[in-house]
Amino acid sequence: MTTLSTVLGPLELSCPVLAASGTFGFGEEYSSMLDLSELGGVVVKGLTLEPRWGNPPPRVVETPAGMLNAIGLQNPGLEGFLEREMPRLRHCGTAVIVNINGETEEEFAVLARELSSVEGLAALELNVSCPNVPLGGITFGSSTPILQKLLKKVRPLCRLPLLVKLSPNVTDIAGLARVCRDEGADAVSLINTLKGMVIDTAAKTPLLGNKTGGLSGPAIRPVAVRMVYEVFQEVNIPIIGMGGIMSTEDALQFFMAGARAVAVGTANFVEPRIMPQIISGLRAYLEEEDLEDIGSVIGAAHRET
């Protein structure tokens, strides 16, 4: 029997395919279209301490083989999440990972501490890479000392497996991943969106309400694969790979580059059943290649041939 189970430090997943944060809501919207228990897990929409209304519309725009979003972390806040979403999520049948966001170290700390005692969560994902908020967000993930300071504060308070979601809008992704490892993060999520802009030439103004947005989808896949490859090569920390995954073949690129799990984001919008499809594709691949587990594919592109 082949197995798709995968281990990222203390986080064990029955299947290495997750729903990426912000693209799967709180797991409810797609639950009529697929069986959540087939997934490796769901990373829920970015959560903040207080409720957030997000950015003014337009918030999304298609770009060549990709899209920009500038949602701006619209979410019900910690309390709203615990009251309205968590009771259902707890029984959704798959690992639930909460993507947490703060404007200050203190906010991250409170979220990490409070959520650590919530029953039914598999891990926290520290989002230090949101390009769409004026405070916090990407600034925490753009400089090693700032990230280090944040992790020194948050890591001790977080009793769940701690993932750190890094930004591709940086000169040295491996340097940031190294800080994560050194400060005890259990894994890094690579990558969040690239900061981009579309100008509405008729209106002579940036199209998005927030002016800039985050680029996701197949367009960014080569950048994402490269960053996973680079971090795998240089830093000894488990990686969750994402960015433009639309097929089993795409997912395999990430595994071979070194990811121990992958997340699917934008593709959910295009093809709501894409995750189960990729999962069965991976199973078929392992069988065809006569491999026992997905582990034998992880990092394969690094072996000398």
Partner: protein
């Protein structure tokens, strides 16, 4: 919720406007006026996202439904090349449609341009239920109007407005409607769809008319099912408050809203 529909007919019904008849049983059965389909164009990565289109009519007996679309970009250009027998991947029917009961007085349909699409479906329902119906239809020029007679064969009172005066009254459809209200010639529930400025004008004027007013909104969408928070429209201040949304999702809470719900 996701289905492959088969193209049965594709017809140009006005300058750049195409009528597409499709066959798919469950959509034809489930569709309600005001709901939309989120359509994938091709199998590639560009166009990437699905495109939302209002359902313009449905016939459960024929297992068929239709959409009416304006060729305005790459996706609709590709759709205009569809041929009978081609398959189209549809998500839907999605969203909250026009909830009509109880209807006081006539149903006043106010359409701007391609905004006619969901109203044709609504008209089909209302005419079927024996309601009185008056159509107000505006477009830049006669050439950009779809031939209503192909869709409203049961007959419905219809008034036209064009910006260049090439058909009906010169001016906007809102001006046209206002004339009727001012003259006291009409009253009833207003159902509207069209460009944002038209809907905004309607919303403003309705502060005086005070008719029940529902309209269908458009906003750029990614998921179409409420998961991404991409397609929002601001709530009207009356709807705010602790715990309430400041933004409604057009795809889930809409696309049809009561005029009082949103801030355009």
């Amino acid at each position: 919720m996701q289905a492959e529909a088969i193209v049965r007919k594709l017809e140009k019904v006005a300058e750049d406007i195409i009528y597409l008849k499709l066959e798919e049983k469950s959509i034809a059965q489930l569709a309600l006026p005001g709901q939309f389909l989120h359509i994938r164009i091709g199998r590639g990565v560009a166009p990437l996202l699905r495109r939302p289109f209002s359902i313009a009519g449905a016939s459960p007996e024929e297992k068929a439904f239709s959409i009416l679309f304006r060729v305005s970009g790459e996706g609709t250009r590709l759709m205009s090349g569809l041929r009978p027998g081609d398959r189209m991947d549809c998500l839907g029917p999605l969203g909250r449609g026009f909830h009509t009961a109880p209807l006081k007085g006539a149903a006043l349909m106010v359409a701007g341009g391609i905004g006619i699409a969901p109203l044709l479906f609504l008209a089909q329902h209302l005419l079927g239920a024996g309601h009185k119906l008056v159509f107000f239809y505006g477009a830049p020029s006669a050439g950009e109007m779809v031939c209503l007679e192909r869709f409203l064969f049961n007959g419905a009172e219809t008034w036209l407005a064009t910006e260049d005066g090439s058909a009906g009254r010169r001016g906007t459809v809102v001006d046209l409607l206002e004339g009727f209200f001012l003259e006291g010639r009409i009253s009833g529930s207003v159902f509207a769809c069209g460009p944002r400025p038209m809907l905004k004008a309607l919303q403003e004027k309705n502060e005086q008319w005070k008719m029940p007013l529902k309209f269908s909104l458009e906003e750029r969408m990614a998921c179409g099912v409420g998961a991404c928070q991409g397609c929002v429209v601001a709530s009207s201040p009356d709807f705010m408050g602790w715990g309430a949304r400041q933004y409604h999702r057009v795809c889930l809470e809409g696309p049809v809203f009561d005029a009082g719900e949103v801030l355009l």
